[in-house]
Symmetry: C2
Subunit: 305 residues, 2 copies
Amino acid sequence: MSKSNFYEKLKTISGITVTPFNKDDQEIDWQGVEENVEYLMDKGLEVIVPCGNTSEFYALTIEEANEETKKTVEIVNKRAIVVAGVGYSVKTAIDMGLEAKKNGAEAIMIHMPVHPYITSEGAKNYFEEIIKGVNMPAVIYFKDSHLNDEILVELAHLENFAGVKYAVNDLPRFAKAVEMLPKDSKVAMICGTAEKWAPFYFMAGAVGFTSGLVNVYPEKSFEMLNSLKNDDYAKAMEIWHEIVEFEDLREKYNSGNNVVVIKESMEMIGLKAGPTRAPVAPLNSEDKESVYNLMKRWGFDPVSK
Amino acid sequence: MSKSNFYEKLKTISGITVTPFNKDDQEIDWQGVEENVEYLMDKGLEVIVPCGNTSEFYALTIEEANEETKKTVEIVNKRAIVVAGVGYSVKTAIDMGLEAKKNGAEAIMIHMPVHPYITSEGAKNYFEEIIKGVNMPAVIYFKDSHLNDEILVELAHLENFAGVKYAVNDLPRFAKAVEMLPKDSKVAMICGTAEKWAPFYFMAGAVGFTSGLVNVYPEKSFEMLNSLKNDDYAKAMEIWHEIVEFEDLREKYNSGNNVVVIKESMEMIGLKAGPTRAPVAPLNSEDKESVYNLMKRWGFDPVSK
């Protein structure tokens, strides 16, 4: 896919899938993967991202991550764009990207380097080496507030740099970053912090947003997308009020709840998610009750497990 | 090695080696690895840690990291204790640990989980699963201020939990953590932030410290260790004043300079370090000059490259 085609495709929800695990041995539940992806296809998801943070990417081995991408591509079967999360060392990320490409993914999403010592110049080199090494459209996950936005401008000319999942929640900064990019660069600036932040990012120039909620309540994610696309900010903020408690629950304990709230919700409403792997702990009983009550208010018929 | 033997061995400097790379292709310079390890053995280093952060662990593939540990064990040849850095997912870390064990390393150092969503309970499970899975003495790298110190107490009974590389620079907190551990737990509390912080950590109960400086100027690291072991804090602070500029340089740009300052110094004084890999950038000319001047003041005969 060309950069400008992919750029157009990113103007939607990038749905980050969960990785369902078996309750007993915590191995990947491949049947669950299939059911969840089918569910998302039924609901009309256009961009699907296996191996994101909501997928517990860092609790997967590299082999498991590669396999998750491969299986997702097979199940999706061209009904949506598959953007495969890749990361770790430059070499590892390139290998993962080439494997994803071989297996039919349309693009990669490059995680923030996990290296503790990182400079803007070093990060620019990191992303550039991976984008060139994989040679397929790429989205950069931009999450470290210490990095300069200028590196996005320096990378903008790259043929395969097609999007940024921006996750530094500083809206004036984001607005300036959007304006800094050359107009013809075809780099899609995406809200990387989901529905809680999406309305504000859209005001600042975002053209899409990532979502974990989409695994649970895709209708709400699409309602928000559509109102934002229609510049109906009043409607978007109505939906925002409906979903913000969910995102607040995910943010508890320094975001330690981020994935487990989604998985618990999915389980309660009959989807397959299973437990989280360490270093994510199970949901405590207080938060479990909050999730249960929220699922009820949202009109589901939740089962408390 | 038994936990209590290893505990005793940790009462020293844990020297984190650099990974030297070739200038042209950035592959690992194995000849350089050998020369650097020999240099450290000559200087009397007792605990050597390949695959730490100073080793650019996160810029290595898992295969390269395993190989670095294997080669280090071979070169050390029982002259010191080899503590192999392991990390990533639980499964990956266990596999790396078992490989290190097979190759003759005496212990592992478990990196902080890189997972962005982490709770104290989840982190405890993470460390426990790895320690039990590898079944060899283990040091935990404790670096996330959001985690409770109580998890160290909960893990203290584990047969192979023998040390903590504590890297949250909150001294009263560290002092309390030391006192919280059962007296017979044989968990060595180590200053994880090197010579700049070591004197303060020792006052608060540390029994050893990690070092990157040891690659450049091992004599100073040992002078500091010996003065601290003799409770000669005045002398320790004298040495502190001699080395603090080096550590300050490493801390620049949100610690983006951490490794490259060590590598640049090594190159200037004739040791093999080579360039850093992305996402670490080369040293800028201003900092290069500072390093050069410092090497001169330290009595080396540096060559500016």
